[in-house]
Symmetry: C2
Subunit: 337 residues, 2 copies
């Protein structure tokens, strides 16, 4: 740990979907101490999230793209080495914006303490921002209850996977849509969805319709129009739609994903756009419920973790290509130093 | 009245937006008595509603188009001449599906008694299906309250006009969008909206933006994409959208009105499709409240009424062209026989 510090930065701004060659591993001085009022932390696992791809191209929520050579945005679970803030102490575990590095000096304001007796990566996955996204969409927007029938795409990912697990925990049915037999196996066997449709197979739309049966009551969208236009017509009257993400379109310069207003009227549907940032103040509620469900095995965290900071660019490329199986992470350091 | 009966029927199926020449006036026998369990009524005023245009082309809610020569769907206010149903008596005033005729023999099931001490045409307008549509969208879907800022198109029409009048009655601001100075004068002077933007003027979108000021909280859509794509971006975060109608698209074979899902996410908007038929059981609530507001002059009924059954085809053509000013109606008989 004391043998220098490394950081992954952009070599140049990605022009389209980022690839490993867009990144470079550079040497950095090790931060000597916690910044005034802040923390010095040892990064354990870095979260790779789909929105980062559009963020790197300056296409996420109006935030500027990081310049080549500058620190990349990245959330991680980390151990506090030194604290200059009364709420944190050496040895605490936190989730914080550390960037893609080994040792980070960070403000305390963005850090939140996490329970070290749970699997640490769960704090980035089912209990982290992806899990919060699912909880917000399913419980606060769609207000799921017993008897609901959910369709959700990117179901092998953490957001989609948690969405289905919550619906099932509340007494509903969950039908996932994912790409490939390995992902579908993950969805049905690990996440225990009622069904998973592989959209790479022929006639997947017919298979989805059959799995849905008498109609869905909630559709949770993570991907984009190709799934949406098959799933929307399967809604029952008064169906609810949560628009959580459009990952297929983040790396595309094609036309925006647009859907007919007349179909929304015909279904008497309610279509709700969500941005998880609006619900950060509700995060503790989900952490409390999700932690209990994790311990009761009603909720599972599945990691797709690569080893070492140098693996981050290739792991990121896998993630934006959708080749990961479970939560995409980079292992930076051991759980315990 | 006893000198025979007339009816307006389709001469042939309209290929596009219906015109007066698509209709014919034919002679019919006068129904001699109420049908078993039903009513014989004298039609006073016939309602002309935009959905009839798509209905005549077989493009409304999957209902079949009326065949040439067959009775046309049409709701009217009428006086009961003879009743074979215990709930109705000679001299009652009702709103019912009478078709486009002078004297109709109808089932009692579709008739509802109305208060003859109110202006009779109000039962087809602000207290009828158009007013119910506005009440449902504004109070049941958008759940308007004090401080809301509404944009609504076709604001000179009954649905749009009532939508704004309800928002104002609840303590909000209403900004209408309508075509031409006469309609805008109706909207601001008779309906007492805070502002009305004439979409036929240059820079109307900029004028709308200025009228909205810090952003709208509800958009109520009656027309179609041309207005929608200007009004949606003016919504504040968490804005609500009611999709009540897409009149511009009913007579078009062009591409459906589609709007980007990403914009819904960015606004954290809630977009709700409505079909007023679902709320018929709530109609008495609106009739009660709306009648009070009519008497208190918080709500006004403005009629655009042509004279005599023979005028119905030309009046219908005016209505589908949007040339009417207020509720489009045909006067068939006097209020009191």
């Amino acid at each position: 740990m004391s043998a220098g510090n490394q950081e992954v930065v952009l070599r140049h701004s990605p022009q389209a979907r980022p690839v490993a060659a867009d990144f470079a591993l550079v040497e950095r001085p090790v931060p000597a101490a916690a910044p005034r009022g802040g923390l010095r932390v040892r990064v354990i696992a870095l979260s790779l999230d789909p929105y980062l791809g559009s963020r790197m191209r300056g296409k996420h929520m109006g935030e500027p793209a990081p310049a080549p050579g500058a620190s990349l945005p990245g959330s991680a679970v980390a151990e506090v080495l030194d604290s200059d803030h009364p709420d944190f102490a050496r040895g605490d575990y936190v989730v914080a914006e550390t960037g893609w590095t080994n040792i980070a000096a960070i403000p305390a304001s963005g850090a939140r303490k996490v329970d070290p007796t749970l699997p640490l990566t769960a704090h980035l996955g089912v209990l982290g921002m992806p899990g919060l996204s699912a909880w917000v969409g399913i419980t606060q927007l769609a207000k799921a209850k017993e008897g609901d029938v959910l369709t959700v795409d990117a179901a092998a990912g953490t957001v989609g996977g948690v969405a289905g697990q919550i619906v099932r925990a509340l007494g509903g049915r969950a039908i996932g849509i994912a790409g490939g037999p390995e992902k579908c196996a993950l969805v049905t066997q690990r996440y225990r969805f009622d069904a998973c449709i592989d959209y790479r197979t022929e006639n997947w739309a017919a298979a989805l319709k059959q799995a849905v049966g008498e109609g869905s009551t909630i559709h949770f969208e993570n991907v984009g129009l190709a799934v949406y236009e098959k799933a929307f017509p399967l809604l029952r009257l008064y169906g609810r739609v949560v628009l959580c993400g459009l990952a297929d379109h983040y790396h595309s310069d094609g036309p925006p994903a647009a859907y007919p207003l007349g179909a929304v009227m015909g279904k008497r549907a309610t279509v709700m756009g969500m941005v998880v940032y609006d619900y950060f103040n509700r995060h503790p509620e989900w952490v409390q419920l999700g932690s209990r469900w994790l311990r009761e095995d009603k909720l599972v965290q599945v990691d797709d973790i690569s080893d070492g900071l140098a693996s981050a660019p290739a792991q990121f490329e896998r993630m934006v290509r959708g080749q990961h199986l479970g939560k995409a992470l980079v292992r930076i350091g051991p759980d315990k130093a």
